[in-house]
């Protein structure tokens, strides 16, 4: 499988603490091993304090691209939180964008305080469908909570991403990459989350 476009631009976004940085690092590691030229940029500073965060991945067979994706150039969006998908589509979406989204909301401080409202998730998903060429919807947080810790949501989303067959990667390369990046005692659980995420997409 080759890239649908060059560069192929991926954004992994969500809320600080959801693990977008690790997910993009693992994905980038796999693609570098496969011979691609990768650049990853991150939003920064908000990462541990509940802010909106994202990682930009530029995948190319030839050139090193800048760590920031230009406006309207996101080809694949992996949203770890539903309204964050819309927030990212606003500057980066275009009619060809494909979106994988986790349905579990994380309420912003303004919503918790009652100063703002969080929209119906079903309405958010409907809008994402209108703004994307293809959409996959799973509840990765639920998968992670069933495993006992919401921290696994990002790995479930990576598994789901693999199952969308949008990138030139496979499950074995994921195993090799997390072997490099995570401590040995964490591998089994992360693999399990990955498989469950992949399964969720295959069942769609």
């Amino acid at each position: 499988m080759s890239l649908a476009k060059d560069p192929f631009n991926v954004i992994i976004g969500g809320v600080g603490g959801q693990g977008n940085v690790l997910a993009s690092h693992i994905l980038g590691q796999i693609l570098v091993e496969r011979g691609y030229v990768i650049t990853i940029g991150e939003t920064y500073g908000a990462s541990q304090r509940g802010g909106a965060v994202m990682s930009h991945l530029r995948i190319s067979a030839r050139d090193q691209f800048s760590p920031l994706i230009p406006e309207g150039r996101c080809d694949l969006l992996v949203a770890l939180e539903p309204v964050e998908a819309l927030r990212i589509l606003e500057p980066y979406g275009y009619p060809g964008v494909m979106t994988l989204v986790n349905t579990r909301p994380i309420f912003p401080m303004g919503v918790i305080a009652g100063d703002a409202t969080y929209p119906e998730v079903s309405k958010v998903i409907a809008m994402i469908r209108e703004l994307s060429s293809k959409v996959w919807v799973i509840n990765a947080t639920e998968i992670a909570l069933e495993m006992g810790d919401p921290v696994f949501s990002n790995m479930a989303m990576l598994g789901a991403l693999f199952a969308t067959n949008t990138l030139p990667i496979d499950g074995q390369s994921f195993e090799a990459a997390i072997g490099e990046l995570l401590p040995p005692h964490r591998l089994a659980e992360n693999l399990k989350a990955f498989d469950k995420g992949a399964e969720a997409v295959r069942e769609l």
Binding site: T39, G50, S66, L86
Partner: protein, 636 residues
């Protein structure tokens, strides 16, 4: 095994810019590395510390940037290679030593990495540190890619030894904190012995003579830079528009030129050695274009220096039209990105560019405006600082004399916003809250009747608040310092500090006890747990009302993120639905509207509070604030 210490020459791997810099230093045979953490530079020492044991290096978190530079310079004076890393604000702290070190020169390669933060994404300012290279007559590199970050760091050590001068490397967030492909080279296997040659003392004296020698060294650097492969031109021989760029501007410029399809009209002169300038190279390209656009972050450093060069040589290169920050083509503040260059090129070359259909753009703007709530930054669930500021607010309210909190930079800076109940009223440099408090504490004789509180973190205390405390004690000032001891340099990635009992490389270290230090300085010091809201508030109030001398209240509670990595929740927290009176309570949703912990939510369906189990860390503090005692906590 540390990723950056892998002995696999020829292998291409994915490295963060900071890791690439660290790898470059390892390939150059660095022996001593020192820094104080500061984003976006922190991973340089972070990754070197994981390689320290395998490669027999000394890697340390120093108490502040000036001491870090002195530690690295000592290695250089003894003939070893040394590295010092910092963020832009750190260079201000180190500058006093740096602007003498340039005169004394150095022996072993000495490289100073400064990671700037355009846009102040994780800083209180967006200072451009390149001006220090000009101020101090020091060679300056600006790597533009991850590969250059590694390769130019390696070269910087050779150049430093060659010139007998420290070399500055200016990185920015989008180089330091981004990742990309890096091809590794060999790690050296040389052992070097440290020796300080006392027959060649390192004296920044006599100043004028040393200043003259410094200028000679810089002249040599300039001629070396004319030939550097890291400065190059890409584009037509005689471009309609010449872009001159450095650092992060390079990839943005390249992408904008390609996106707009103006490769045959615009050429890019990419410079990676930006002080002293490679004058002949620049003049050659200035001679071939009539219009010039400067693309750089943050200040017009290249722009002004190239214009200076132009003024000297304008008879040779002819008239030019200059575009950049002075002309308003590129914004003069904030971070730049690919769009910045794209819109500048659109205007200057008169080309049209639509990144996406107008209908799509309109639709997506409408949808987000209607549906997407803003996501303000706030303290993490279970953060001890939220509890601290809750107690501060209560104590100041009970005290009733309009007391205020003077702060500085750290996670606790969020105390200036809603999640810290807007209690922090000043924020500047490291330790500045304590310094300002030492000054406010003198103003009683001029009529100041408000009690003065300062706040600083544990790592910040050692870095910069101790001198303020000494000063306050010596000059008989009066205030209360809240020392937020969360057992880590949390904001920059939980680095250890002198109070943690661990070094950068994970070795055991003596604990420099905060309370003992404060007491030795003559301050009254007490320790409380901020999760004990009642006890903390009472103690704070008691200290506020003691109007004599310097009081330190140490609020000790581990960072929730550090604790969360080691252990499960402290408490199982629940909102007992039968007890929560909801909208009828009269508390007006105190837990969510005011306390605002992300682990809580207001269920609009039931009109009552709830706990989000995916987010709650089980600190149990909210159980104390609920007036109806509807929030229960049980040991988990």
């Amino acid at each position: 095994m540390s990723l950056i210490a892998r002995d696999t020459p020829g292998k291409t791997t994915l490295l963060m810019g900071n890791e690439a810099i660290a790898r470059g230093a390892l390939e150059a045979g660095v022996k001593v590395c020192a820094a104080y953490p500061g984003n976006p530079s922190s991973e340089i020492i972070g990754s070197l510390s994981s390689a320290a044991d395998a490669l027999a290096l000394h890697v340390e978190w120093s108490v502040n940037e000036k001491v870090a530079l002195e530690v690295a310079a000592a290695a250089s004076f003894a003939g070893l290679r040394g590295l010092c890393a910092m963020k832009q604000n750190g260079l201000n702290v180190a500058a006093d030593f740096l602007l003498n070190l340039n005169l004394s020169g150095c022996q072993g390669g000495l490289v100073i990495i400064v990671a700037d933060d355009p846009g102040g994404i994780s800083s209180t300012n967006e200072e451009d540190s390149r001006i220090f290279a000009k101020l101090g007559d020091l060679p300056l590199f600006e790597p533009a890619t991850f590969q250059e970050a590694k390769d130019m760091t390696k070269w910087a050590f050779t150049l430093s030894e060659d010139l007998g001068l420290p070399v500055l490397i200016r990185s920015v967030t989008r180089v330091s904190h981004a990742r990309g492909n890096v091809r590794l080279d060999e790690l050296p296997r040389s052992a070097s012995k440290a020796r300080f040659d006392t027959s060649d003392p390192r004296l920044a004296f006599p100043p004028v003579l040393m200043h003259k020698g410094l200028h000679q060294k810089l002249g040599r650097a300039s001629s070396l830079f004319e030939q550097s492969p890291y400065n190059f031109y890409r584009g037509p021989e005689k471009p309609e528009l010449l872009l001159i760029t450095s650092g992060s501007g390079w990839m943005y410029s390249l992408e904008a030129v390609i996106n707009l399809g103006v490769q045959d009209r615009a050429g890019i002169l990419k410079l990676s050695t930006t002080w002293p300038l490679p004058g002949s190279l620049i003049l050659k390209h200035l001679g071939r274009a009539d219009a010039v656009l400067f693309v750089e972050e943050v200040d017009p450093f290249l722009e002004n220096n190239v214009k200076e060069l132009f003024a000297q040589h304008c008879m040779e290169v002819g008239l030019k039209r200059f575009f950049g920050k002075a002309a308003g083509t590129i914004p003069s503040v904030g971070e730049i990105g690919p769009e910045t260059v794209t819109s500048a090129l659109q205007a200057l070359l008169n080309v049209s560019y639509k990144p996406r259909p107008a209908g799509y753009a309109k639709k997506v703007h409408e949808v987000t405006a209607e549906l997407v709530p803003t996501r303000a930054l706030g303290f993490c669930a279970g953060c001890p600082h939220r509890a601290t500021y809750w107690a501060v607010k209560r104590a100041l309210t009970l005290d009733g004399r309009e007391g205020f909190v003077l702060g500085d930079i750290g996670c606790y800076s969020l105390g200036m916003g809603p999640s810290g109940f807007s209690q922090m009223k000043t924020i500047h440099a490291m330790g500045s809250g304590a310094g300002l408090a030492a000054g406010f504490g003198q103003l009683k004789r001029f009529g100041l009747s408000q009690p003065v509180l300062a706040v600083c973190g544990d790592s910040t205390f050692y870095h910069a608040a101790m001198p303020a405390l000494v000063n306050a004690r010596y000059n008989a000032s009066s205030f209360v310092l809240l020392l937020l001891d969360n057992s880590a340099t949390a904001m920059t990635g939980f680095q250890p500090h002198p109070g943690t009992g661990r070094t950068a490389t994970g070795k055991e270290a003596p604990v420099l006890d905060l309370k003992a230090i404060c007491e030795a300085l003559g301050a009254k010091a007490e320790v409380v747990d901020p999760f004990d809201l009642q006890g903390t508030t009472e103690k704070m109030l008691e200290l506020l009302q003691d109007e004599q001398g310097v009081k330190v209240l140490i609020l000790r509670r581990e960072c929730a993120l550090v604790r969360g990595k080691k252990q499960k929740k402290l408490y199982r927290v629940e909102v007992r639905q039968e007890r929560c009176l909801g909208e009828a309570c009269g508390c007006n949703r105190l837990c969510t509207r005011v306390f605002k912990c992300p682990g809580l939510y207001w269920d609009t369906a039931t009109g009552k509070a709830g706990i989000d189990e995916a987010i709650c860390t089980g600190c149990g503090v909210c159980a104390e604030i609920c007036p109806a005692s509807a929030i229960s906590k049980e040991v988990a």
